[in-house]
Amino acid sequence: MISISKLSKAYGSVDTSLLIVLKNVNLTINEGEFVAIMGPSGSGKSTLLNIIGMLDNFDAGSYQFKGQSVPSLNSDTLAELRLYNLGFVFQSFNLIAQLTAQANVELPMLYTRLKKTKRQSNAVQRLTELGLGDRLNHKPSELSGGQQQRVAIARALVNDPAVLIADEPTGSLDTETGIDIMHLFQRLHQNGKTIVMVTHEEEIAAFASRVIRMRDGKIVDQGLAA
């Protein structure tokens, strides 16, 4: 599904001080895997995840997603890949404050050809599955952190993407709520969803089927225990 080799990324330019954030990263993620990326702060986890999510570009190396070479794709194609193949969950939820839970979940479907009634029923169904059937018309500010993250997860899943990408999805939640979210991820994983998640917490990473460790822009452990 995801195949990265010799990938590098740096900030700044050669003549100023060049900050190399990713060095020669090789990574393969297969369909159905639940991968956790761990490592100290500043080690490049988010940068790598953003590249995997096609939100950021890189300087050298290759990245193949479902057999397509990502750097060669134009912005419309990337948008379409994100629309149908990638779902994002962020540490800070990133819900749109003016919109209700249901409207937030409908958002990704606005960019598809789905009919309004279908968009509405899909959103209601997703939210109900995640236990938010009675919170459809609440604004994000009227929901708890855990509830907001569930809305975000519903939004990430609503177009049924191949890969769920999550950058510290439990980072803003208390331990208990975080564990709840991880039970949810586990269930998704059991149903075959590919998940790539960044986390600081071993307790959270423990839910993954594989843990990758990074340090100073390099992968130091692919987590492929013998």
């Binding site: 999510g53 939100l55 948008a79 994100r82 629309l83 990638l86 003016q98 606005l110 960019y111 009919k115």
Partner: protein, 412 residues
């Protein structure tokens, strides 16, 4: 369709969040469009009015006078108007070949003549004219009849009264036709009542000839000549076949007069074109001032929208990032922000139309201009307002559309 609808809904929601700011830029467009409407009303109404008033002189008119305003004293020594009945009759006989449709002499009575009926007295403008006078000056009668050739040939003591004179001289409720009146002590039979015509607007802008057209007493020029005791014609009024040849025909006529009176007299011909030019200049002035002020308000409105959209893009950078992560293409983001900008200006445009219509009605009432609605202008105003919105929304929208997703997401 359903997608457009949800775009509009989203745009409305977004604008609703920043109501005051949105309202301010709506206002700019509103003022601009209202100004366009009001100016349009004034210039269309003014135009209409001026032409209607100019028509009371006859748009195809040429006036031929003796020219006293000359340097050469020899051309001022000889007395009289320099236009005789023979001149008139000979021009009338040749009118086809001269390109003249109608021609009339104009002989004026003394300004201090008193016209009376019983104890009622007025100081009217008394004019002696030919049969075609009413045709040339676009006069109609409300009751009675016009002057005929027999009145002129036999110097009949008959008159047509302007409506103000009829009101002033006649006992209220009496029918003027068939009544006798005295002009400078001579008895006349009223045969016709002239319809009212307005020259108020021309008078109000100080245009020459803007005097009242409703206080005339009109009689056969032959009768008038007997009253004043000479056969001079003050001036000739001519209606030409072709408006564009008016000046040329004026010259032909003065040439004819010069060859009949070769010594000691100069002539001048005046056409309606000179009046029309002056009044058009005034109207164009109004229109230009209006267009400039409307453009300024539209510009201000446009800058307002640009500002609102620019701020919106900045404030919603994170939302843009989220939408891009979710799968929005550049053109989806572009559409979203253009829709908001277009909506602001469309609302502004509609409000402007409403206020402009009210302002136009009030203005038309104050100025007494006719209110001439123009659907073309309404459409134009709306199209302009939406274009202003889209143009001023374009740069901020493109900035939003081209944002890199990671950078947008990182913003606070």
């Amino acid at each position: 369709m359903n997608r457009w609808l949800s775009n509009v809904t989203q745009a409305l929601q977004a604008l609703n969040v920043h109501r005051r700011r949105s309202a301010l830029s709506v206002l700019g467009i509103t003022i601009g469009i209202a100004a366009v409407m009001a100016v349009g009303t004034i210039s269309r109404g003014g135009n209409h009015l001026i032409y209607r008033e100019l028509e009371t002189f006859g748009l195809n008119s040429v006036w031929v006078y003796r020219n006293w305003n000359v340097q050469d004293v020899k051309l001022r020594e000889k007395g009289g108007s320099g236009i005789t009945n023979e001149d008139f009759l000979s021009l009338q006989a040749d009118k086809k070949q001269l390109g003249i449709r109608n021609i009339t002499p104009d002989v004026r009575g003394h300004y201090d003549w008193v016209s009376k009926q019983g104890s009622r007295e007025v100081n009217a403008t008394v004019i002696g004219v030919g049969r075609d006078y009413t045709t040339i000056a676009n006069d109609t009668i409300t009751t009675g009849r016009l002057l005929n050739q027999n009145d002129i040939n036999t110097r009949q003591p008959v008159v047509l009264l302007g409506p103000e004179i009829a009101n002033a001289l006649m006992e209220p409720g009496t029918e003027p036709i068939g009544q006798r009146i005295y002009v400078d002590g001579k008895r006349f039979l009223v045969v016709g009542l002239l319809a009212s015509k307005s020259r108020d607007f021309l008078a109000s802008i100080g245009s020459a000839g803007g005097q009242n057209a409703n206080d005339r007493i009109v009689m056969p020029y032959t009768t008038m000549q007997r009253m004043v005791g000479h056969e001079d014609i003050r001036n000739l009024q001519i209606k030409v076949e072709d408006f564009d040849r008016a000046a040329e025909i004026g010259d032909l006529v003065t040439d004819r007069l010069l060859s009949a009176h070769p010594v000691g007299i100069a002539y001048r011909a005046e056409t309606m074109a000179s009046y029309i030019e002056t009044t058009n200049k005034i109207l164009n002035g109004v229109a230009i001032i209006g267009i400039v002020s409307a453009s300024i308000s539209l510009l201000v409105g446009g800058m307002g929208i640009m500002n609102v959209m620019g701020t919106a893009v900045l404030e919603r950078t994170r939302e843009i990032g989220v939408r891009k992560a979710i799968g929005a293409r550049e053109k989806d983001i572009m559409t979203q922000f253009l829709m908001e900008a277009g909506l602001i200006s469309a609302v502004g445009g509609l409000l402007g139309l409403l206020i402009g219509t009210i302002a136009s009605t009030v203005l038309a009432n104050i100025t007494n201009f006719p209110l001439i609605p123009s659907p073309k202008q309404v459409i134009f105003a709306l199209v302009v307002s939406v274009i202003v919105g889209l143009l001023s929304g374009f740069l901020p929208a493109r900035r939003a559309a081209r944002m890199k997703p990671v950078q947008a997401l990182r913003s606070e």
